[in-house]
Amino acid sequence: MSGKEYRTITDVKGPLVFLNKTDPVAYGEIVSLRLSDGSIKNGQVLDTSDDMVVVQVFEGTAGIDRKTGIQFMGDVFKLPVSKDLIGRILTGAGKPRDGGPEIIGEFNADIIGAAINPYSRESPEVFIQTGISAIDCCTTLVRGQKLPIFSASGLPHNDIALQIARQAKLIDSDEQFIVVFCAMGITAEEYNYFRHDLERTGALENAVLFVNLADDPAVERLITPRLALTTAEFLAFEHDYHVLVIYTDMTNYCDSLRQIGAAREEVPGRRGYPGYMYTDLAMLYERAGIVKGKKGSITQFPILTMPGDDITHPIPDLSGYITEGQIVISRELHQKGIYPPINILPSLSRLMNAGIGDGKTREDHKSVSDQLYAAYAQGRELRGLVAIVGEDALNERDLQLLKFSDIFEDTYLRQDRDEDRSITQTLDMAWDILTNIDTKYLVRLDQKWIDKYHPTDKK
């Protein structure tokens, strides 16, 4: 099959090349395009029939003409995987970017990735301590989870992701995480920020970076996360590592998906994004988890910026339906000068209940977290009321809740970028700030926890 070069291009449109009169070409097959100036581009078959083949070109179609030679490589896209990937920086297409040697793989892995049999999965239930109170107490992360950060332009999501990457650990084990970092369409400045931070803390030695920057071809972005996840799967399931995958920014990925959809003249779904975006995103996010009989795990931290801070935009919306919760960054808190500006109310960790409680974090964790949520939610609601009627119209309970919500933001949410709080500190602090509310209003707390942990009403 490979070896034969076709010069039968009929159409070039956006990132797509159409050609005819080929031997049978496989769906998903990798394509090499040789331009008249001798340079090589790569692509993949999107549609194939006896009469016509559609190829999506990863590096963009600039310079392609009807004389461009096309070779089919006889196989689907594969990445050579090896433990030597650790510590390397690669391009969005998996080529060395750090001046190092080509990767010689133990084997070549199919980058699309097969679905994990749900029956073969193991339930994620090991608590990961991030040292950030808002996350550890209220949206607890567990190993094998996929928990995205929903942010927006101008907010410190990168700092939070880096802080998590730095501080993430298991309570009673010193196992380190390997970080697989996947950049999609971010600026060189953002990339340098990440790289320098990883270098500064020595984390780079335990990281693999796949980097597709804003000026790299948009189509390449569609394979970058797949390369990152294939690497993560290899390290987790062949070499027992616990892998933390951070990808940023999913919004750029989805925009590339839309670009391809538009070029193929597909019927668009909401806001022009393709109807299969849910399935496509699921093929990435679902590659998190733990499987039976393997020691390693994959935990995912996708970062996405919500266009216009709109959580109902298709990108956060479809992501939220697949991921196991979300951490929502709030512009309002950021403007108040609070770091990390995590709004716990729309944030959620679906796997939290499996990872907390007696023997995992502490027996009172669930109760405390429920109570913080309820009190903070009511306190914030009262702020709106106070703006209209003033504090005088509030009763005792409401005044306490109102005050509580300020204290919560100011002392509990707020912490330094390198402040690493243990889960015990986090829970004790929660009890401390709850003393600002009369015990009789703390209806979410079991009496037995009040008796045991309440700083002043302890028995």
Binding site: Y27, A115, S120, G144, Y276, T279, E286, V291, Y321, A393
Partner: protein
């Protein structure tokens, strides 16, 4: 034309084949690996096939073989406790055959063909039997007796019938006309199984969830839709229903949802004990798990696979509850395939036949007289995941036009951790009118009246809240402040229910009624005390009321609640006395 053709074109899960002689919905084997597919369109010489497995690496020119069958499930003992993918391949067998990752081209029988069952005939030689009639039983699990029925289209006088140990393919019964019957049957998933007639539902499906049973009940044989944005608790509600509803058989379809969530169900269910039988819940459960990253065409089929299995148990005379989580993912699978077929889209890119497919699916629910004269039912509860939580979109609207119960989830409630986050003002059920007599007979004679009082208090609260938003609650007259306190009690004590708490997770109807009555009793006594001069603050804060509220988390609450209410009322009366 023959039963063998060759591939002309491949575009994702859609493959076009030439030279094949195929009928619509025939199952075909595609390519050298024999991937399973289904004919969904015919264009002259060409047949369009949706393939249930990944098509990467397949080339034009590879062969396609028509099996001549339509997409079917196998039915017989051994279905219960199984976990299937969308096309009834047991996930456990797939793991044995291909490891932890699902690859392709592997076949697996839906039920174990070798397993031996103890068959007990219930008809004798010389009896006349007809289609759908029960000819014998098998103890399928500890709690469920499998009733072996005469397959459709067969019937006559029994010539020979054998009791004893058989596998599902061995002949257990021969009819005079020579038909040989085994326990195994097949049924095409896209055709509803027949019944004699549909009845109006008249019994509630008791779920142990207070807001559902008390305010918005679902009848056995009814249909309910749960639309809600992500994070509002759809899946938890679906799982609560699968765990606690008093159906005899539960079919749970995880359609295009999260892998870890299915795993949670798979690890949790075998440990859970059915409150009605005292045996593991898994004994009555069939699960279908086609997660979001498994092939979309199989996702499209999963809903039909599930409902066909449900119908099979209904035909035995069981009450079946079917949960589909989420029907939106099913609709999206239809949309994806439709767009690959380049069909003219309807609203938001969904195919124009979306609403009729939804209607056909929900119409397979109902309480029926089965072919054997028994009474069986299927209740369907479908989760809907509207983009952005906006239910004006086609899937939500198509669902709401059909279902009789609407449990609307509210993101605001979820944010306050008010769970289940069902919006009490906008949700509805059309069943109370037909179910009220049942409640009067089986729970309490004034059950419907108590319900009306509770829901009208919630309605009044929402009106008062509008005023409070403007002037603050202290500006309200004291009786309205009391109403707000009572409504708060309804919300925090009655409507909120902790699915993860061992005790609070399930309340029987009797307890639900007592809790509701306790709230009304508080209202009545507090009003008397306040009229006698007591302060609202003192009445609300009597310690016994806190005991009543917190008590719901403790074992034996049902027995203690009367006493707790009496204590509360006494202390409230004392509070009034102290003022005078």
């Amino acid at each position: 034309m023959s039963d063998k053709g060759s591939i002309y074109r491949i575009s994702g899960p859609v493959v076009t084949v030439t030279g094949i002689d195929a009928k619509m919905y025939d199952v075909v084997r595609v390519g050298d690996e024999g991937l399973m597919g289904e004919v969904i369109e015919l264009h002259g010489e060409k047949a369009v096939i949706q393939v249930y497995e990944d098509t990467s690496g397949i080339r034009p020119g590879e062969s396609v073989i028509n099996t001549g069958d339509t997409l079917s499930v196998v039915l017989g003992p051994g279905l219960l406790t199984q976990i299937y993918d969308g096309i009834q391949r047991p996930l456990k067998v797939l793991e044995e055959k291909m490891g932890v990752f699902i690859t392709r081209g592997v076949d697996a029988d839906g039920i174990d063909m070798e397993k031996i069952w103890e068959f007990k005939p219930v008809v004798a030689v010389g009896d006349e039997v007809s289609s759908g009639q029960v000819i014998g039983t098998v103890q399928e699990t500890e709690t469920i007796e499998h009733r072996v029925m005469v397959p459709l289209g067969k019937g006559g006088v029994v010539k020979e019938i054998k009791g004893g140990e058989f596998n599902v393919t061995e002949i257990i019964c021969t009819l005079e006309d020579g038909s040989e019957l085994a326990m195994l049957q097949r049924w095409p998933v896209r055709s509803p199984r027949p019944y004699i007639q549909k009845y109006a539902p008249d019994t509630p499906l008791v779920t142990g969830q207070r807001i559902l049973d008390f305010l918005f009940p679902l009848a056995k044989g009814g249909t309910a839709g749960i639309p809600g944005p992500f994070g509002s608790g759809k899946t938890v509600i679906q799982q609560q229903l699968a765990k606690w509803s008093d159906a005899q058989i539960v079919v749970y379809i995880g359609c295009g949802e999260r892998g870890n969530e299915m795993t949670e169900v798979l690890t949790e269910f075998p440990k859970l004990i059915d409150p009605n039988s005292g045996k593991p819940l898994m004994n009555r459960t069939v699960m279908i798990a086609n997660t979001s990253n498994m092939p979309v065409a199989a996702r499209e089929a999963s809903v039909y696979t599930g409902v066909t299995i449900a119908e099979y148990y209904r035909d035995m005379g069981y009450d079946v509850a079917l949960m589909a989580d989420s029907t939106s993912r099913w609709a999206e699978a239809m949309r994806e395939i439709s767009s690959r077929l380049e069909e003219m889209p309807g609203e938001e890119g969904y195919p124009a036949y979306l609403s009729s497919r939804l209607a056909e699916f929900y119409e397979r629910a109902g309480r029926v007289e089965t072919l054997s004269g028994a009474d069986g039912s299927i209740s369907i509860i479908g989760a809907v995941s509207p983009p952005g939580g906006d239910i004006s979109e086609p899937v939500s609207q198509g669902t709401l036009r059909i279902v009789k119960v609407f449990w609307g989830l509210d993101a605001g409630l979820a944010r306050q951790r008010h769970f289940p986050a069902i919006a009490w003002l906008s949700s509805y059920s059309l069943y109370p009118a037909t179910l009220d007599q049942w409640y009067r007979d089986n729970v309490a004679t004034d059950f419907p009246e108590v319900r009306t009082k509770i829901s009208s208090l919630l309605q009044v609260e929402s009106e008062l809240q509008e005023i409070v938003q403007l002037v603050g609650s202290d500006a309200l007259p004291i009786d309205q402040q009391l109403t707000l306190e009572v409504a708060r009690m309804i919300r925090e004590y009655f409507l909120q229910q902790n699915a993860f708490h061992d005790v609070d997770t399930y309340s029987n109807l009797d307890l639900q009624y007592k809790m509701a009555a306790a709230i009304l009793s508080f209202q009545e006594n507090a009003k008397l005390a306040i009229d006698a001069g007591a302060m609202l603050e003192d009445v609300v804060n009597v310690p016994a009321r806190t005991d009543l509220l917190r008590g719901r988390f403790e074992e034996g609450y049902g027995e203690r609640i009367d006493e707790l209410v009496a204590n509360m009322n006494k202390q409230i009366a004392d509070a009034a006395g102290a003022e005078n």
